[in-house]
């Protein structure tokens, strides 16, 4: 029910966000206040390791999001003296209430997934998911989450997925845009098998483990470069997923690109389809143009919009993407992508609004449907 002219309270009563439709925020970032907070979620051996070795004092901030960097928190969303996203009350008020969101999906970006020790990465993932369930999901019925996994150890990752799957508030599996190997590679397929089994999409979030240069031309100098170049990493991942036949092997699987931008999609789709027509025989399990596969299997959160100066150009890009099912609303809270509540650009606020705000996420996250 759309009550477009009503104020926020009336909207909320109707179950609508401030945008006049129910909204699902597909990318917010609650944060661990410090590593110590996770201690209760380790067994005796690991607790002693963490304490003895001073690991509980390490921050594990990801290189992609230095805590004080502007991207990491909008100034009014930055708690005083605490890590951005770590304050439950602030997040509740600023990410959920302020927008009138119905559900918000928590993608916790904690650097432990980048640990080289496979077992440590695995136990941290387990602790993180447990912490998330107890200290966030239990506290607000609007919150949903992605399962954090030790990506580079697919067997251990599958164990964690199996461990977490019964909790229906976990609606997605989280991976990062830059790791050791491209995500299409077969060694990751046990993870995708588990995802398909439980009806969970794979969320690929901006950021990386930095085990190699973030570009094929070596190490750039600036965070600005790293951040901008992430769109290239997403393009590379998309090509890997398609070329390796992930969607041929797992026809029900969807991938959600989070904080990737989306304006780069049309040029990428055109080029991928063009190349496929000539190089098809190398990858004969790809039986349709990549552009079509993308429309069926890929979803993208809308922040950052990286908008062109002219809204008509954004209109055109959305037309060129050629699907009204791909884009999904997000605030990327508390990352700084927009001012005020200006999270939905005009070209997405018209006829597409309900799909972008709500329906596409409902279609993609099967567990959201089960919850109703």
């Amino acid at each position: 029910m759309v009550v477009a002219d009503a104020g926020p309270r009336q909207q909320a009563k109707a179950g609508n966000s401030i945008f006049g439709h129910p909204a699902i925020d597909c990318d917010i970032h609650p944060a661990v206040p410090n590593t110590k907070a996770l201690l209760p979620y380790f067994d005796d051996y690991w607790q002693e390791q963490l304490l003895t070795r001073g690991i509980d004092r390490l921050s594990f901030s990801m290189s992609s999001y230095p805590p004080n960097a502007p991207i990491s928190a909008r100034p009014d969303w930055r708690p005083k003296g605490a890590r951005p996203g770590s304050d439950f009350d602030m997040l509740k008020s600023q990410a959920l209430d302020a927008f009138g969101t119905r559900y918000a999906i928590c993608n916790v970006l904690f650097g432990a997934s980048a640990l080289h020790s496979e077992d440590m990465a695995a136990v941290f993932s387990t602790a993180l998911n447990e912490w998330l369930a107890r200290e966030w999901l239990d506290r607000d019925p609007r919150l949903r989450a992605s399962i954090v996994i030790p990506t580079e150890s697919p067997d251990l990752a599958v164990e964690e997925i199996e461990r977490r799957a019964a909790d229906k508030r976990f609606v997605q599996i989280l991976m990062l845009a830059m790791g050791d190997k491209p995500l299409g590679r077969r060694s990751f397929w046990p993870i995708y098998r588990a995802a398909e089994k439980y009806g969970l999409p794979i969320g690929v979030h901006a950021g990386g483990t930095y085990r190699q240069a973030p570009t094929s031309t070596g190490w750039p100098s600036y965070f600005l470069e790293d951040y901008v170049n992430l769109s290239g990493a997403f393009e590379s991942q998309l090509l890997s997923l398609i070329s390796e036949g992930v969607f041929a092997k797992f026809p029900d699987l969807k991938f959600v690109f989070a904080e990737s931008g989306f304006c780069w999609l049309p040029a990428f789709m055109w080029r991928a389809s063009k190349t496929w027509r000539g190089v098809r025989t190398e990858i004969p399990w790809v039986k349709r143009a990549p552009a079509e596969i993308i429309r069926d299997h890929i979803r993208v959160t809308i922040q950052p919009v990286d908008a062109p100066p002219d809204p008509a150009q954004l209109d055109m890009v959305i037309e060129q993407i050629g699907s009204d099912r791909m884009l999904m609303f997000s605030t990327d809270y508390p990352h700084w992508q927009f001012e005020g509540t200006d999270a939905l650009p005009a070209p997405l606020a018209g006829d597409l609004a309900r799909k972008v705000l709500h329906d596409n996420a409902m279609e993609t996250y099967t567990r959201l449907r089960e919850g109703r």
Binding site: E244, G245, A248, R277
Partner: protein, 140 residues
Amino acid sequence: MSWHVVAKVDEIAPGQSKMVSARGREIGVFNVNGDFFALANKCPHEGASLCKGRVIGLAESDEPGHYRLTRKGELLRCPWHGWEFDIRTGQSWCDPVHTKVKAYSVMVESGDKLGDKSKGPYVAETFAVSVEDNYILVDV
């Protein structure tokens, strides 16, 4: 449209092709397992001399990592961008609905039945028609 005698049957063995010219058009005549087909020598993508491309089979797969070659000798790969065309129909493999190369009707006729079709400057310049031999005709 009229029929043109373009080659003798035994000039084009199975798996082989011959480039011919009729009414100012370049046409590739292909022998696919004993049947004859004719395609315009122009790729609908960017105008390449399509019939100079390699004759191939169809690369198929039921799942990643598994490869099969079927329909050996039935497809043509454009010598430039590698688009695959079904020699029998002219349809492109990747986009059969929208993309075709022009295909011409072909028939095989024995020399004693050619009658009027044996006329024309082309036939006279390439070879005499013998009533005992079989000939390939293309409708251009």
